[in-house]
Symmetry: C2
């Protein structure tokens, strides 16, 4: 047991908040964890499964006396939530968030911040396609990256303490500037999600290929797309609307490349295709070497034997 | 032990052939399995790891006396391989393939077929991003689909026997018409692969987002794309060139939908995005219910505990 914050308040009780709770409990990192969710049903579920030591019916009650407040709500409502809780925040408290977009959150939260509260935006690069209070598990952040995006004038001690918490939760922590964060994530996460959503939508639309066939024969490629495209609709709507510029820029690049490959297919330019596919294969090897995925032949989905 | 074919010849010794070998061994489905690979290095590896009972230096020797010959080479060379082995095939033998495209393979193989050989095209809907003789494992086909695409006048007994083999290997077998197969696969596999290749290529091109950042922060979305984009370049070049029409048709639909979503992002139409993402989420649920993927919160990549 090594308590880092006496009291932590989780605002929003979905996948990330519930995983944080179980991860903090696992190692006794918080004296007490309070929670709040907008939906009465979510609060009831949280109470039933023991998610948070106390669940409150208002966000203001949940943050009262908290040394750390973690905003785990969709990025589109971060500003509104802070406006609501601002005057209830404890002087000297740290406020952080887990949103996938940083510039927009900073712009919307900053105007409501009390002077004596440390705002340190954050983003855990971890998730699954599941959502809600029952989807969390303690290992979600193990060996995953947590990006801290401190704003101008952030208190070094407050940053160090928040970094310590995330490291004890299991993450590797790095600091990054907000604009750059949003571009990197547009490449590694936001554009791929939109593309996956699109492809799954196309399949759903095709009347000649019946639903059951798409579903039955979805072993390769498409199956992974459907998993990505099963992510929380509200969260992702907000991500695209708040990281509009970077996402549209990357999608523009994507379309350009896709057209070039389509042309190669149409003209039968096998060499272009082979070269392109050989290059992308090398990137995969780097990711496995970086420890961010498994090399198991069945993706770790079953056991191997020969 | 229930031998279905006394002698099976595997032509091409990559992921599919090696997995078939281990799956047949597991249940004693073949009296003897012979093998051939074009590359001397692959043949050496096969001999070293015990892949096939006998590995031959020519395809003609490998197929001599075989009751079943399985073509496990890229779809672009199926016709050439059959031209080479045709006169060495045993009268009454069954010839099948495992290619991801069917119409083109049928067109290129049929002209070389001896009259007394039963050609029954097939396609196991199973795979990983790995390739080569050491990538196979016996469970690859367990509970996966195997599509048989019999040509006109195929012998019902020969079809029934091949179906029996694949069922004993672990697959669920269905029959499908070639054109329809190629369209369904364009949706569920070919277009998604090209899209994944494209996105990974875009990330690689972006100089402002350094390679190491793309790799480090690839937790969500992009990581799955890199796995798909690590698949065998030669195999996939051939798939796109031989299933050109269906792939280009689906990619056209994809681009159309992508542009509509881009417009929704640009104009801030959150309702359009939310509706679209809600619809795609439902497809995922159907796939899990159909038993074609796991619902584990961490994709089965680690163990869960609370």
């Amino acid at each position: 047991m090594s308590v880092i914050y006496n009291r932590v308040a989780l605002i929003g009780l979905g996948l990330i908040a519930s995983s944080m709770f179980w991860a903090m409990k696992r190692r006794g990192l918080a004296g007490e964890v309070t929670g709040f969710a907008r939906s009465a049903e979510t609060r009831e579920t949280a109470r039933r499964i023991g998610l948070c030591d106390r669940v409150f019916d208002t966000a203001r009650e949940a943050v009262e006396g908290a040394d750390l407040v973690v905003l785990c709500v969709p990025v589109g409502v971060m500003g509104d939530v802070v406006a609501e809780i601002a005057s209830a925040l404890k002087p000297g408290a740290t406020l952080t968030d887990v949103g996938s977009v940083k510039r927009d959150v900073i712009e919307n939260v900053t105007p409501h911040l009390p002077e004596n509260v440390h705002f340190i935006p954050g983003h855990p690069i971890a998730g699954t396609e599941h959502s809600g209070p029952e989807s969390g598990f303690a290992e979600l952040f193990d060996n995953r990256w947590l990006l801290l995006v401190p704003v101008e004038g952030s208190d070094p001690d407050a940053i160090a303490r928040l970094r310590h918490l995330w490291e004890e939760i299991g993450s590797n922590v790095e600091e990054m500037e907000a604009e750059h964060h949003d571009l990197v994530l547009a490449v590694t996460s936001h554009a791929p999600h939109l593309i996956a959503y699109t492809m799954v939508g196309v399949a759903d639309d095709l009347r000649r290929v019946t639903d059951s066939e798409v579903i039955k024969y979805s072993a390769a490629g498409f199956r992974d797309f459907t998993r990505i495209a099963a992510s929380d609709p509200t969260m992702w709507r907000d991500v695209f609307l708040t990281n509009k510029d970077a996402t549209l820029e990357i999608l523009g690049r994507f379309t350009e490349e896709l057209f070039a490959l389509q042309r190669a297919i149409r003209t039968g330019d096998g060499e272009h295709l082979h070269d392109y596919f050989t290059r992308t294969r090398a990137i995969r090897r780097s990711i496995i070497e970086a420890g961010q995925d498994t090399d198991a032949p069945d993706f770790g989905r079953g056991k191997r034997s020969k």
